[in-house]
Symmetry: C2
Subunit: 324 residues, 2 copies
């Protein structure tokens, strides 16, 4: 399992590697929420998302012998960049299996960071099987994108920072909203938040049609959802929460919220116009939930994780140009 000590250990390893992102406030957003909203822009990390935290925390704990054989991961893009950067910083060769239709920016950045990319067709091929075959052939370490204690502890440093920073501001958070794919970020953050703060509620936010975590948390058991409807939230398209991540989220009382694609597009526009931030679709899910009034925020202090900012120019321009 993962506890506060693991997360504090990860924070130590990540010092000087991941950015301690600030908590931002915006008058327009406070007004819309009728309360205090603290934004945690993980888009400011070196790779544009929180994923460096977990990837580096895992890779930095490989034995010298294991590291010599390299590491293999699969990812739509943000975990790919996290693994590639962590590998570059630690001198570990990394190979990442990515869908051939992943955002161009994510493919380019992963390559630029020195990651070897192997593409696959997301409709006909099984990325995990491809990655496991490569890992077996090379004796390489697998770097799961969420269901591993070291990944969970690394991502949990986001929650640790939210707890400490909000306390330092004299505004300890009462509720925290986190975009959710497989649940690595949410489970780690929840462990840290519940350990540091007395009364705090945590919510996952998922796009419609990909609400496996919300359904799982509500039913009390892991649910898989079919993925036939397209979504712009490439970072949040897990079929089900992880085994470990679900166990943690369920035990600690996390609840699930769902937003529509249109609500997410609206949040990306709001971030451009009022926050002056570039947020990717998956990274804007929690902000979308606030703006769409999916949760009572009146007179409360709510933290919102903006989990990533890697969006292609074309999609960004298309969303900004839409009338509202």
């Amino acid at each position: 399992m993962v506890d506060l000590v693991d997360i504090e250990g990860a924070a130590g390893r990540l010092s000087g590697i991941a950015v301690e992102t600030p908590l931002l406030r915006n008058a327009e957003l406070d007004q819309s929420a009728g309360g205090r909203v603290l934004l945690k822009p993980e888009s400011f990390q070196p790779i544009g998302s929180f994923k460096i935290r977990g990837a580096y925390n895992l890779l930095s704990q490989l034995s010298a012998e294991a590291a010599r054989h390299g590491a293999v991961a699969w990812s739509s893009g943000n975990h790919a960049q996290g693994v590639a950067l962590a590998g570059k910083l630690l001198g570990i060769k990394t190979t990442i299996v990515m869908p051939e239709d992943a955002p161009q920016a994510k493919l380019n950045n992963t390559r630029r960071l020195g990651g070897e990319i192997i593409t696959y067709d997301r409709y006909t091929e099984d990325r995990e099987a491809i990655a496991r075959r490569i890992a077996a052939e090379r004796g390489a370490a697998i770097v799961p994108s969420y269901d591993h204690p070291h990944i969970i502890a690394g991502q949990g440093t986001v929650g640790l920072e939210i707890a400490k920073q909000s306390q330092a501001l004299g505004l300890p958070v009462e509720q925290v909203l986190i975009p959710c794919g497989g649940g690595g970020l949410t489970s780690g953050c929840t462990v840290a938040l519940k350990a540091c703060l007395e009364n705090v509620s945590v919510f996952t936010v998922e796009p419609e049609h990909y609400d496996d975590t919300a359904k799982s948390l509500e039913s009390g058991q892991r649910v898989s959802v079919s993925q036939t409807t397209p979504s712009i939230c490439d970072a949040l398209l897990a079929e089900s929460p992880g085994k470990l991540t679900f166990e943690i989220m369920h035990r600690l009382g996390v609840r699930g919220l769902v937003v529509t694609e249109e609500e997410i597009r609206n949040a990306i526009r709001f971030a451009f116009r009022h926050l002056k931030l570039v947020v990717e679709p998956g990274g804007a899910a929690a902000l979308a939930a606030i703006l769409a009034g999916k949760l009572d925020t009146k007179d409360k202090t709510t933290a919102v994780v903006l989990s990533g900012g890697n969006i292609d120019v074309e999609l960004f321009a298309e969303i900004q140009a839409e009338l509202t």
Copy 2:
């Protein structure tokens, strides 16, 4: 004149009104500069630029009698929004003379904040004369956009924050780059920076063809430049530095840098791709100077003010779509 006490006074008045913007770092930018770059994103202010600082500092010091007659300003947009918001917060009626071709976002936001807008043709009419006539008719106070001690002191709180925050990080800044129109921000910041730090150099950054401040600082006297060439930097198109602002900048040894329009467009792209920040053309001038190598940043700690983020969607999309 303006001294540290005035700026500290302004900081007190602005508490809870302006955001204390963070200092951000980015690995990509540090690498490009070969040193440590600390970004001050004034784009995070409630109106998307630093202008609320000076406007509120001035309006909040009007007598009750003067405030009753309202306030008049002229501005291409950011000062307009600062004056409108300060007026709204203080219950003072504000009227702003704006060019009819000002960015739509700036016109809309000024109106939304309750400012009365009077447009003029920037090629045939004199905005200052229009504003002074209205002020005389109504007995209203004039809120200059830069050449006033209260405006300079208000904008100077940016420099005070840079000094204190960089010291708290253990990275006291050695040089500071500031986008420059009439010099209100630079002169105020320089007073604060020179009072708080032993060895700090300050540089204005202006777009080509609008380098009146660079020319003035170099020649030792106020120079005006003609303005026939178009520029995307609507916020930096002053014809000459102010009387007060020039006197301060000249006395404290500020030097002037100049960047091309293409260098500014490149900086806006860099901010989108790597910093995940939305920056307007004028607000990106200092970042452009760093990226274009206009100054020796190797092994130095350099602060860069991103002075605003109010850019229309169409121009932003056009700049992002350009090949580099």
